[in-house]
């Protein structure tokens, strides 16, 4: 078994080296990081909305990690200052994303603070953003029924109304909570 064992041990050893460098060392470095003073924990509603964000797969088209202005014009697009590890103190799991088929959402709550805009955008994206390729989320709304006094009603552009289901309201609460415009110290040694 000598050669086989040697291969297996060598393979495990090198993976352990990689793991300690790429995961272990940053784990130790980042563990003590507290939340910035300006960052609030998610409300129960926003936390449920975050689950909806995951379950609906928003992450496959939207990132949450504005880049440094020296690297890319993210800030000029209104996506915010470069994010730092502390900004994600309450994020389990992380939702950094790797695609920008749609815009970065790290500060969508500050850029677009209207609940009605978000609800209509979810119901019919192309009604508010012509040319958008985002899927409509009409399944998060009830159409045609009578609205109760407590219901949140969306007025549709072509006439008619839709009632937002709790999941839609939670999701919008999460999107509105994405506001990281508070000041932070720039990340140490940040290089674009």
């Amino acid at each position: 078994m000598n050669a086989a064992l040697g291969t297996a041990f060598g393979a495990v050893g090198l993976l352990a080296l990689a793991g300690s460098l790429l995961v272990g060392a940053p784990y130790a470095q980042l563990r003590g990081e507290g939340a910035p003073a300006g960052l609030r924990p998610y409300t129960a509603e926003a936390a449920r909305g975050r689950e909806a964000y995951m379950a609906l797969g928003c992450i496959y088209c939207h990132s949450q990690q504005p880049r440094d202005p020296r690297q890319a014009p993210d800030a000029e697009r209104g996506w915010g200052r470069p994010s730092v590890p502390a900004d994600y103190a309450y994020d389990h799991p992380h939702l950094l994303g790797t695609m920008r088929t749609g815009p970065d959402l790290f500060n969508i709550g500050a850029r677009q603070p209207s609940r009605d805009w978000h609800l209509l955008h979810l119901y019919d994206p192309r009604a508010v953003v012509p040319g958008s390729i985002m899927p409509a989320h009409r399944f998060l709304f009830d159409v045609g029924g009578a609205a109760g006094p407590e219901d949140v009603v969306v007025n549709l552009p072509g006439g008619g109304t839709a009632v937002a289901r709790p999941e839609a309201l939670d999701l919008v609460a999460y999107l509105l909570s994405l506001d990281h415009t508070y000041p932070v110290a720039p990340a140490e040694g940040s290089v674009p």
Binding site: V12, H94, G131
Partner: protein, 545 residues
């Protein structure tokens, strides 16, 4: 911070010294000279120069295309060894390969649906079960864990007894592993369909369902250990190293990345991409290389070009590939030194990639006429070429300047397919064509379908990769120009996304042809066995070239 850096530097120095000592030891013990002979262990005495491809329409033409005099008949002992090896792995290999093909069909249909939705968002948008955000992760997980993982294990189970010259031991464990793995897949698909996801790319399956993959994978690993213990070869061929390494790497990665309640915030993103890139680099890639290192020499009847180089390539891959993952987070909110480390190792990947390229390509280089007569070789050689292209491309756009343009765009998706499809999937196609006649004893019933499959997937994939790459670059350029509104970066991609759907559809049609043919050979095999059983004749001697 400076402390961390100093410790890292010291560690790197230490690793370099250990590596150097290892090299000195290897040279002093003449390991390299010994090794050169190792390349021949997959041939019996006098077998070199013999072309072998069970799919070849004309074995005689294939043999002539090599341009060398054909050797005498293979030694009966070697033929008997291989026949026994193939019979012993039949059950487990069939379970894994056939399951993989079914998952490939389902996964590619979902891939086409996700692709169509990108330029035609109204398609099937009424139901939450078919919204883009559900279809996209289903496609990825079904292809990664259903097709590529199961095909990889299937090919490995077929290779092992051949490489170790002994029947597969404990094949039933692997069959049980295939069943448990499939149960995990079905549950995972149901979970994602209903929105039960961990929310982390490549790690979407809920951790409770991950346990099925841990158990299924462990069961499939049992025959490896048992068969290794009974091996009847002096030297472990390079394919065996890759299989051993992959089978220890993947479980470690899978458990570390999926363990619940440990990872947090940005650190989670690091684990995420360390894992995701390693699934490709340390799981699909070693399995595919194991197959390529076996099949190319076998088909062209010549040992690997430089066996010493394959040793270097193996250890360089293990060292560098395991550290490249964080190039997915360039510009992200993670410690810069981790990103830099990943960029450096990404570029260093040129070492194993070029070493492997030299090896695989030079083995077949002056026998490329065989491509005309060997369908298997076409798949495997094209796959090996894509490995070179995809890896060099990956090294280049890990550089910060290029990454700024390509990050967050469809270009990355095209690149990922160049690796997982162009390389891994093509090699597995070739391996399945080679192994199915060997383990079932039947012939592929419709040889023309192999050419149809090849034409469809090559044409479809060329369209896919070329157009999506261009679209992604245009998207990136539009996004970096602050004077252009964001919507321009969406609009500019639309024709390319449409082209991607056309390419993906052709690829999927190719997969339908492939799956039908796999069904055909299974049917032919069952007819053959039924006929053999009724005639009570002694089992026909397996015809192995």
């Amino acid at each position: 911070m400076n402390d961390t850096l100093a410790r890292l530097l010291a560690l790197c120095f230490l690793v370099a010294v250990v590596g150097l000592l290892g090299l000195v030891w290897a040279v002093s013990r003449r390991q390299f000279t010994h090794l050169a002979a190792g390349a021949r262990v997959i041939f019996g005495p006098g077998e070199e120069g013999r072309a072998e491809d069970p799919v070849a329409p004309s074995p005689a033409l294939l043999q002539r295309s090599l341009g060398v005099p054909p050797p005498a008949a293979s030694p009966p002992a070697d033929v008997a060894d291989r026949t026994r090896a193939d019979r012993s792995s039949r059950g487990p290999v069939l379970w894994f390969v056939v399951s993989a093909v079914v998952w490939l069909l389902l996964g590619s249909l979902l891939g086409v649906l996700a692709s169509v939705k990108m330029h035609w968002p109204e398609v099937l948008d009424a139901s939450v079960y078919t919204t883009f955000g559900r279809v996209r992760p289903l496609h990825l997980n079904i292809i990664a864990y259903g097709w590529l993982s199961m095909a990889g294990v299937g090919v490995a189970l077929w290779l092992l007894p051949r490489l170790l010259r002994t029947p597969l031991r404990g094949g039933r464990w692997a069959v049980a592993g295939a069943l448990v793995w499939n149960v995990g897949m079905v549950l995972g698909v149901a979970a994602l369909l209903t929105g039960h996801t961990e929310g982390v790319e490549w790690l979407e399956f809920p951790w409770q369902i991950d346990l099925f993959f841990v158990v299924g994978g462990a069961l499939a690993g049992v025959p490896l250990l048992l068969t290794l213990q009974h091996r009847r070869v002096e030297h472990l061929y390079v394919s065996t190293w890759y299989i051993i390494a992959a089978l220890v790497w993947f479980p470690i990665l899978f458990v570390v990345a999926n363990v619940p309640g440990v990872h947090f915030g940005v650190e989670h993103a690091l684990v995420n991409w360390w894992f995701a890139h390693n699934v490709l680099g340390l799981w699909f890639t070693p399995m595919s290389l194991a197959a390529a290192y076996y099949l190319i020499p076998k088909i062209v009847g010549r040992p690997i070009h430089s066996y010493q180089l394959s040793l270097l390539a193996f250890w360089a891959l293990a060292l560098f590939y395991s550290q490249v993952g964080v190039h997915h987070l360039i510009g992200g909110p993670v410690p810069t030194w981790v990103v830099t480390l990943s960029i450096v190792t990404s570029v260093a990947m040129c070492v194993p990639v070029l070493a492997t390229a030299v090896n695989l390509h030079f083995t077949a280089f002056d026998r490329l006429a065989a491509l005309r007569h060997s369908p298997t070789l076409r798949f495997v050689v094209l796959g090996a070429m894509m490995y070179t292209v995809a890896s060099v491309q990956g090294s280049l756009h890990a550089l910060r300047s290029l990454n700024t343009l390509t990050h967050f765009t469809h270009y990355t998706v095209a690149h990922a397919h160049l690796g997982a499809y162009g390389f891994n999937t093509f090699v597995f196609f070739g391996a399945v064509y080679f192994l199915m006649p060997r383990i079932t004893g039947a012939e592929w019933p419709w040889p023309r379908l192999v050419s149809a499959h090849f034409a469809l997937v090559v044409a479809g994939f060329a369209v896919y990769v070329v157009f999506l790459s261009i679209g992604g670059l245009l998207q990136g350029a539009a996004m970096l120009d602050a004077s252009r509104p964001f919507m321009e970066s969406v609009e500019v991609t639309l024709p390319y996304l449409l082209a991607r759907s056309v390419g993906g559809t052709l690829m999927t049609l190719g997969h339908v042809v492939f799956a039908a043919h796999v069904g055909g050979i299974l049917w032919a095999a069952s007819r053959r066995r039924a006929a053999a059983a009724t005639s009570m004749a002694p089992a026909a001697q397996e015809v192995l070239s």
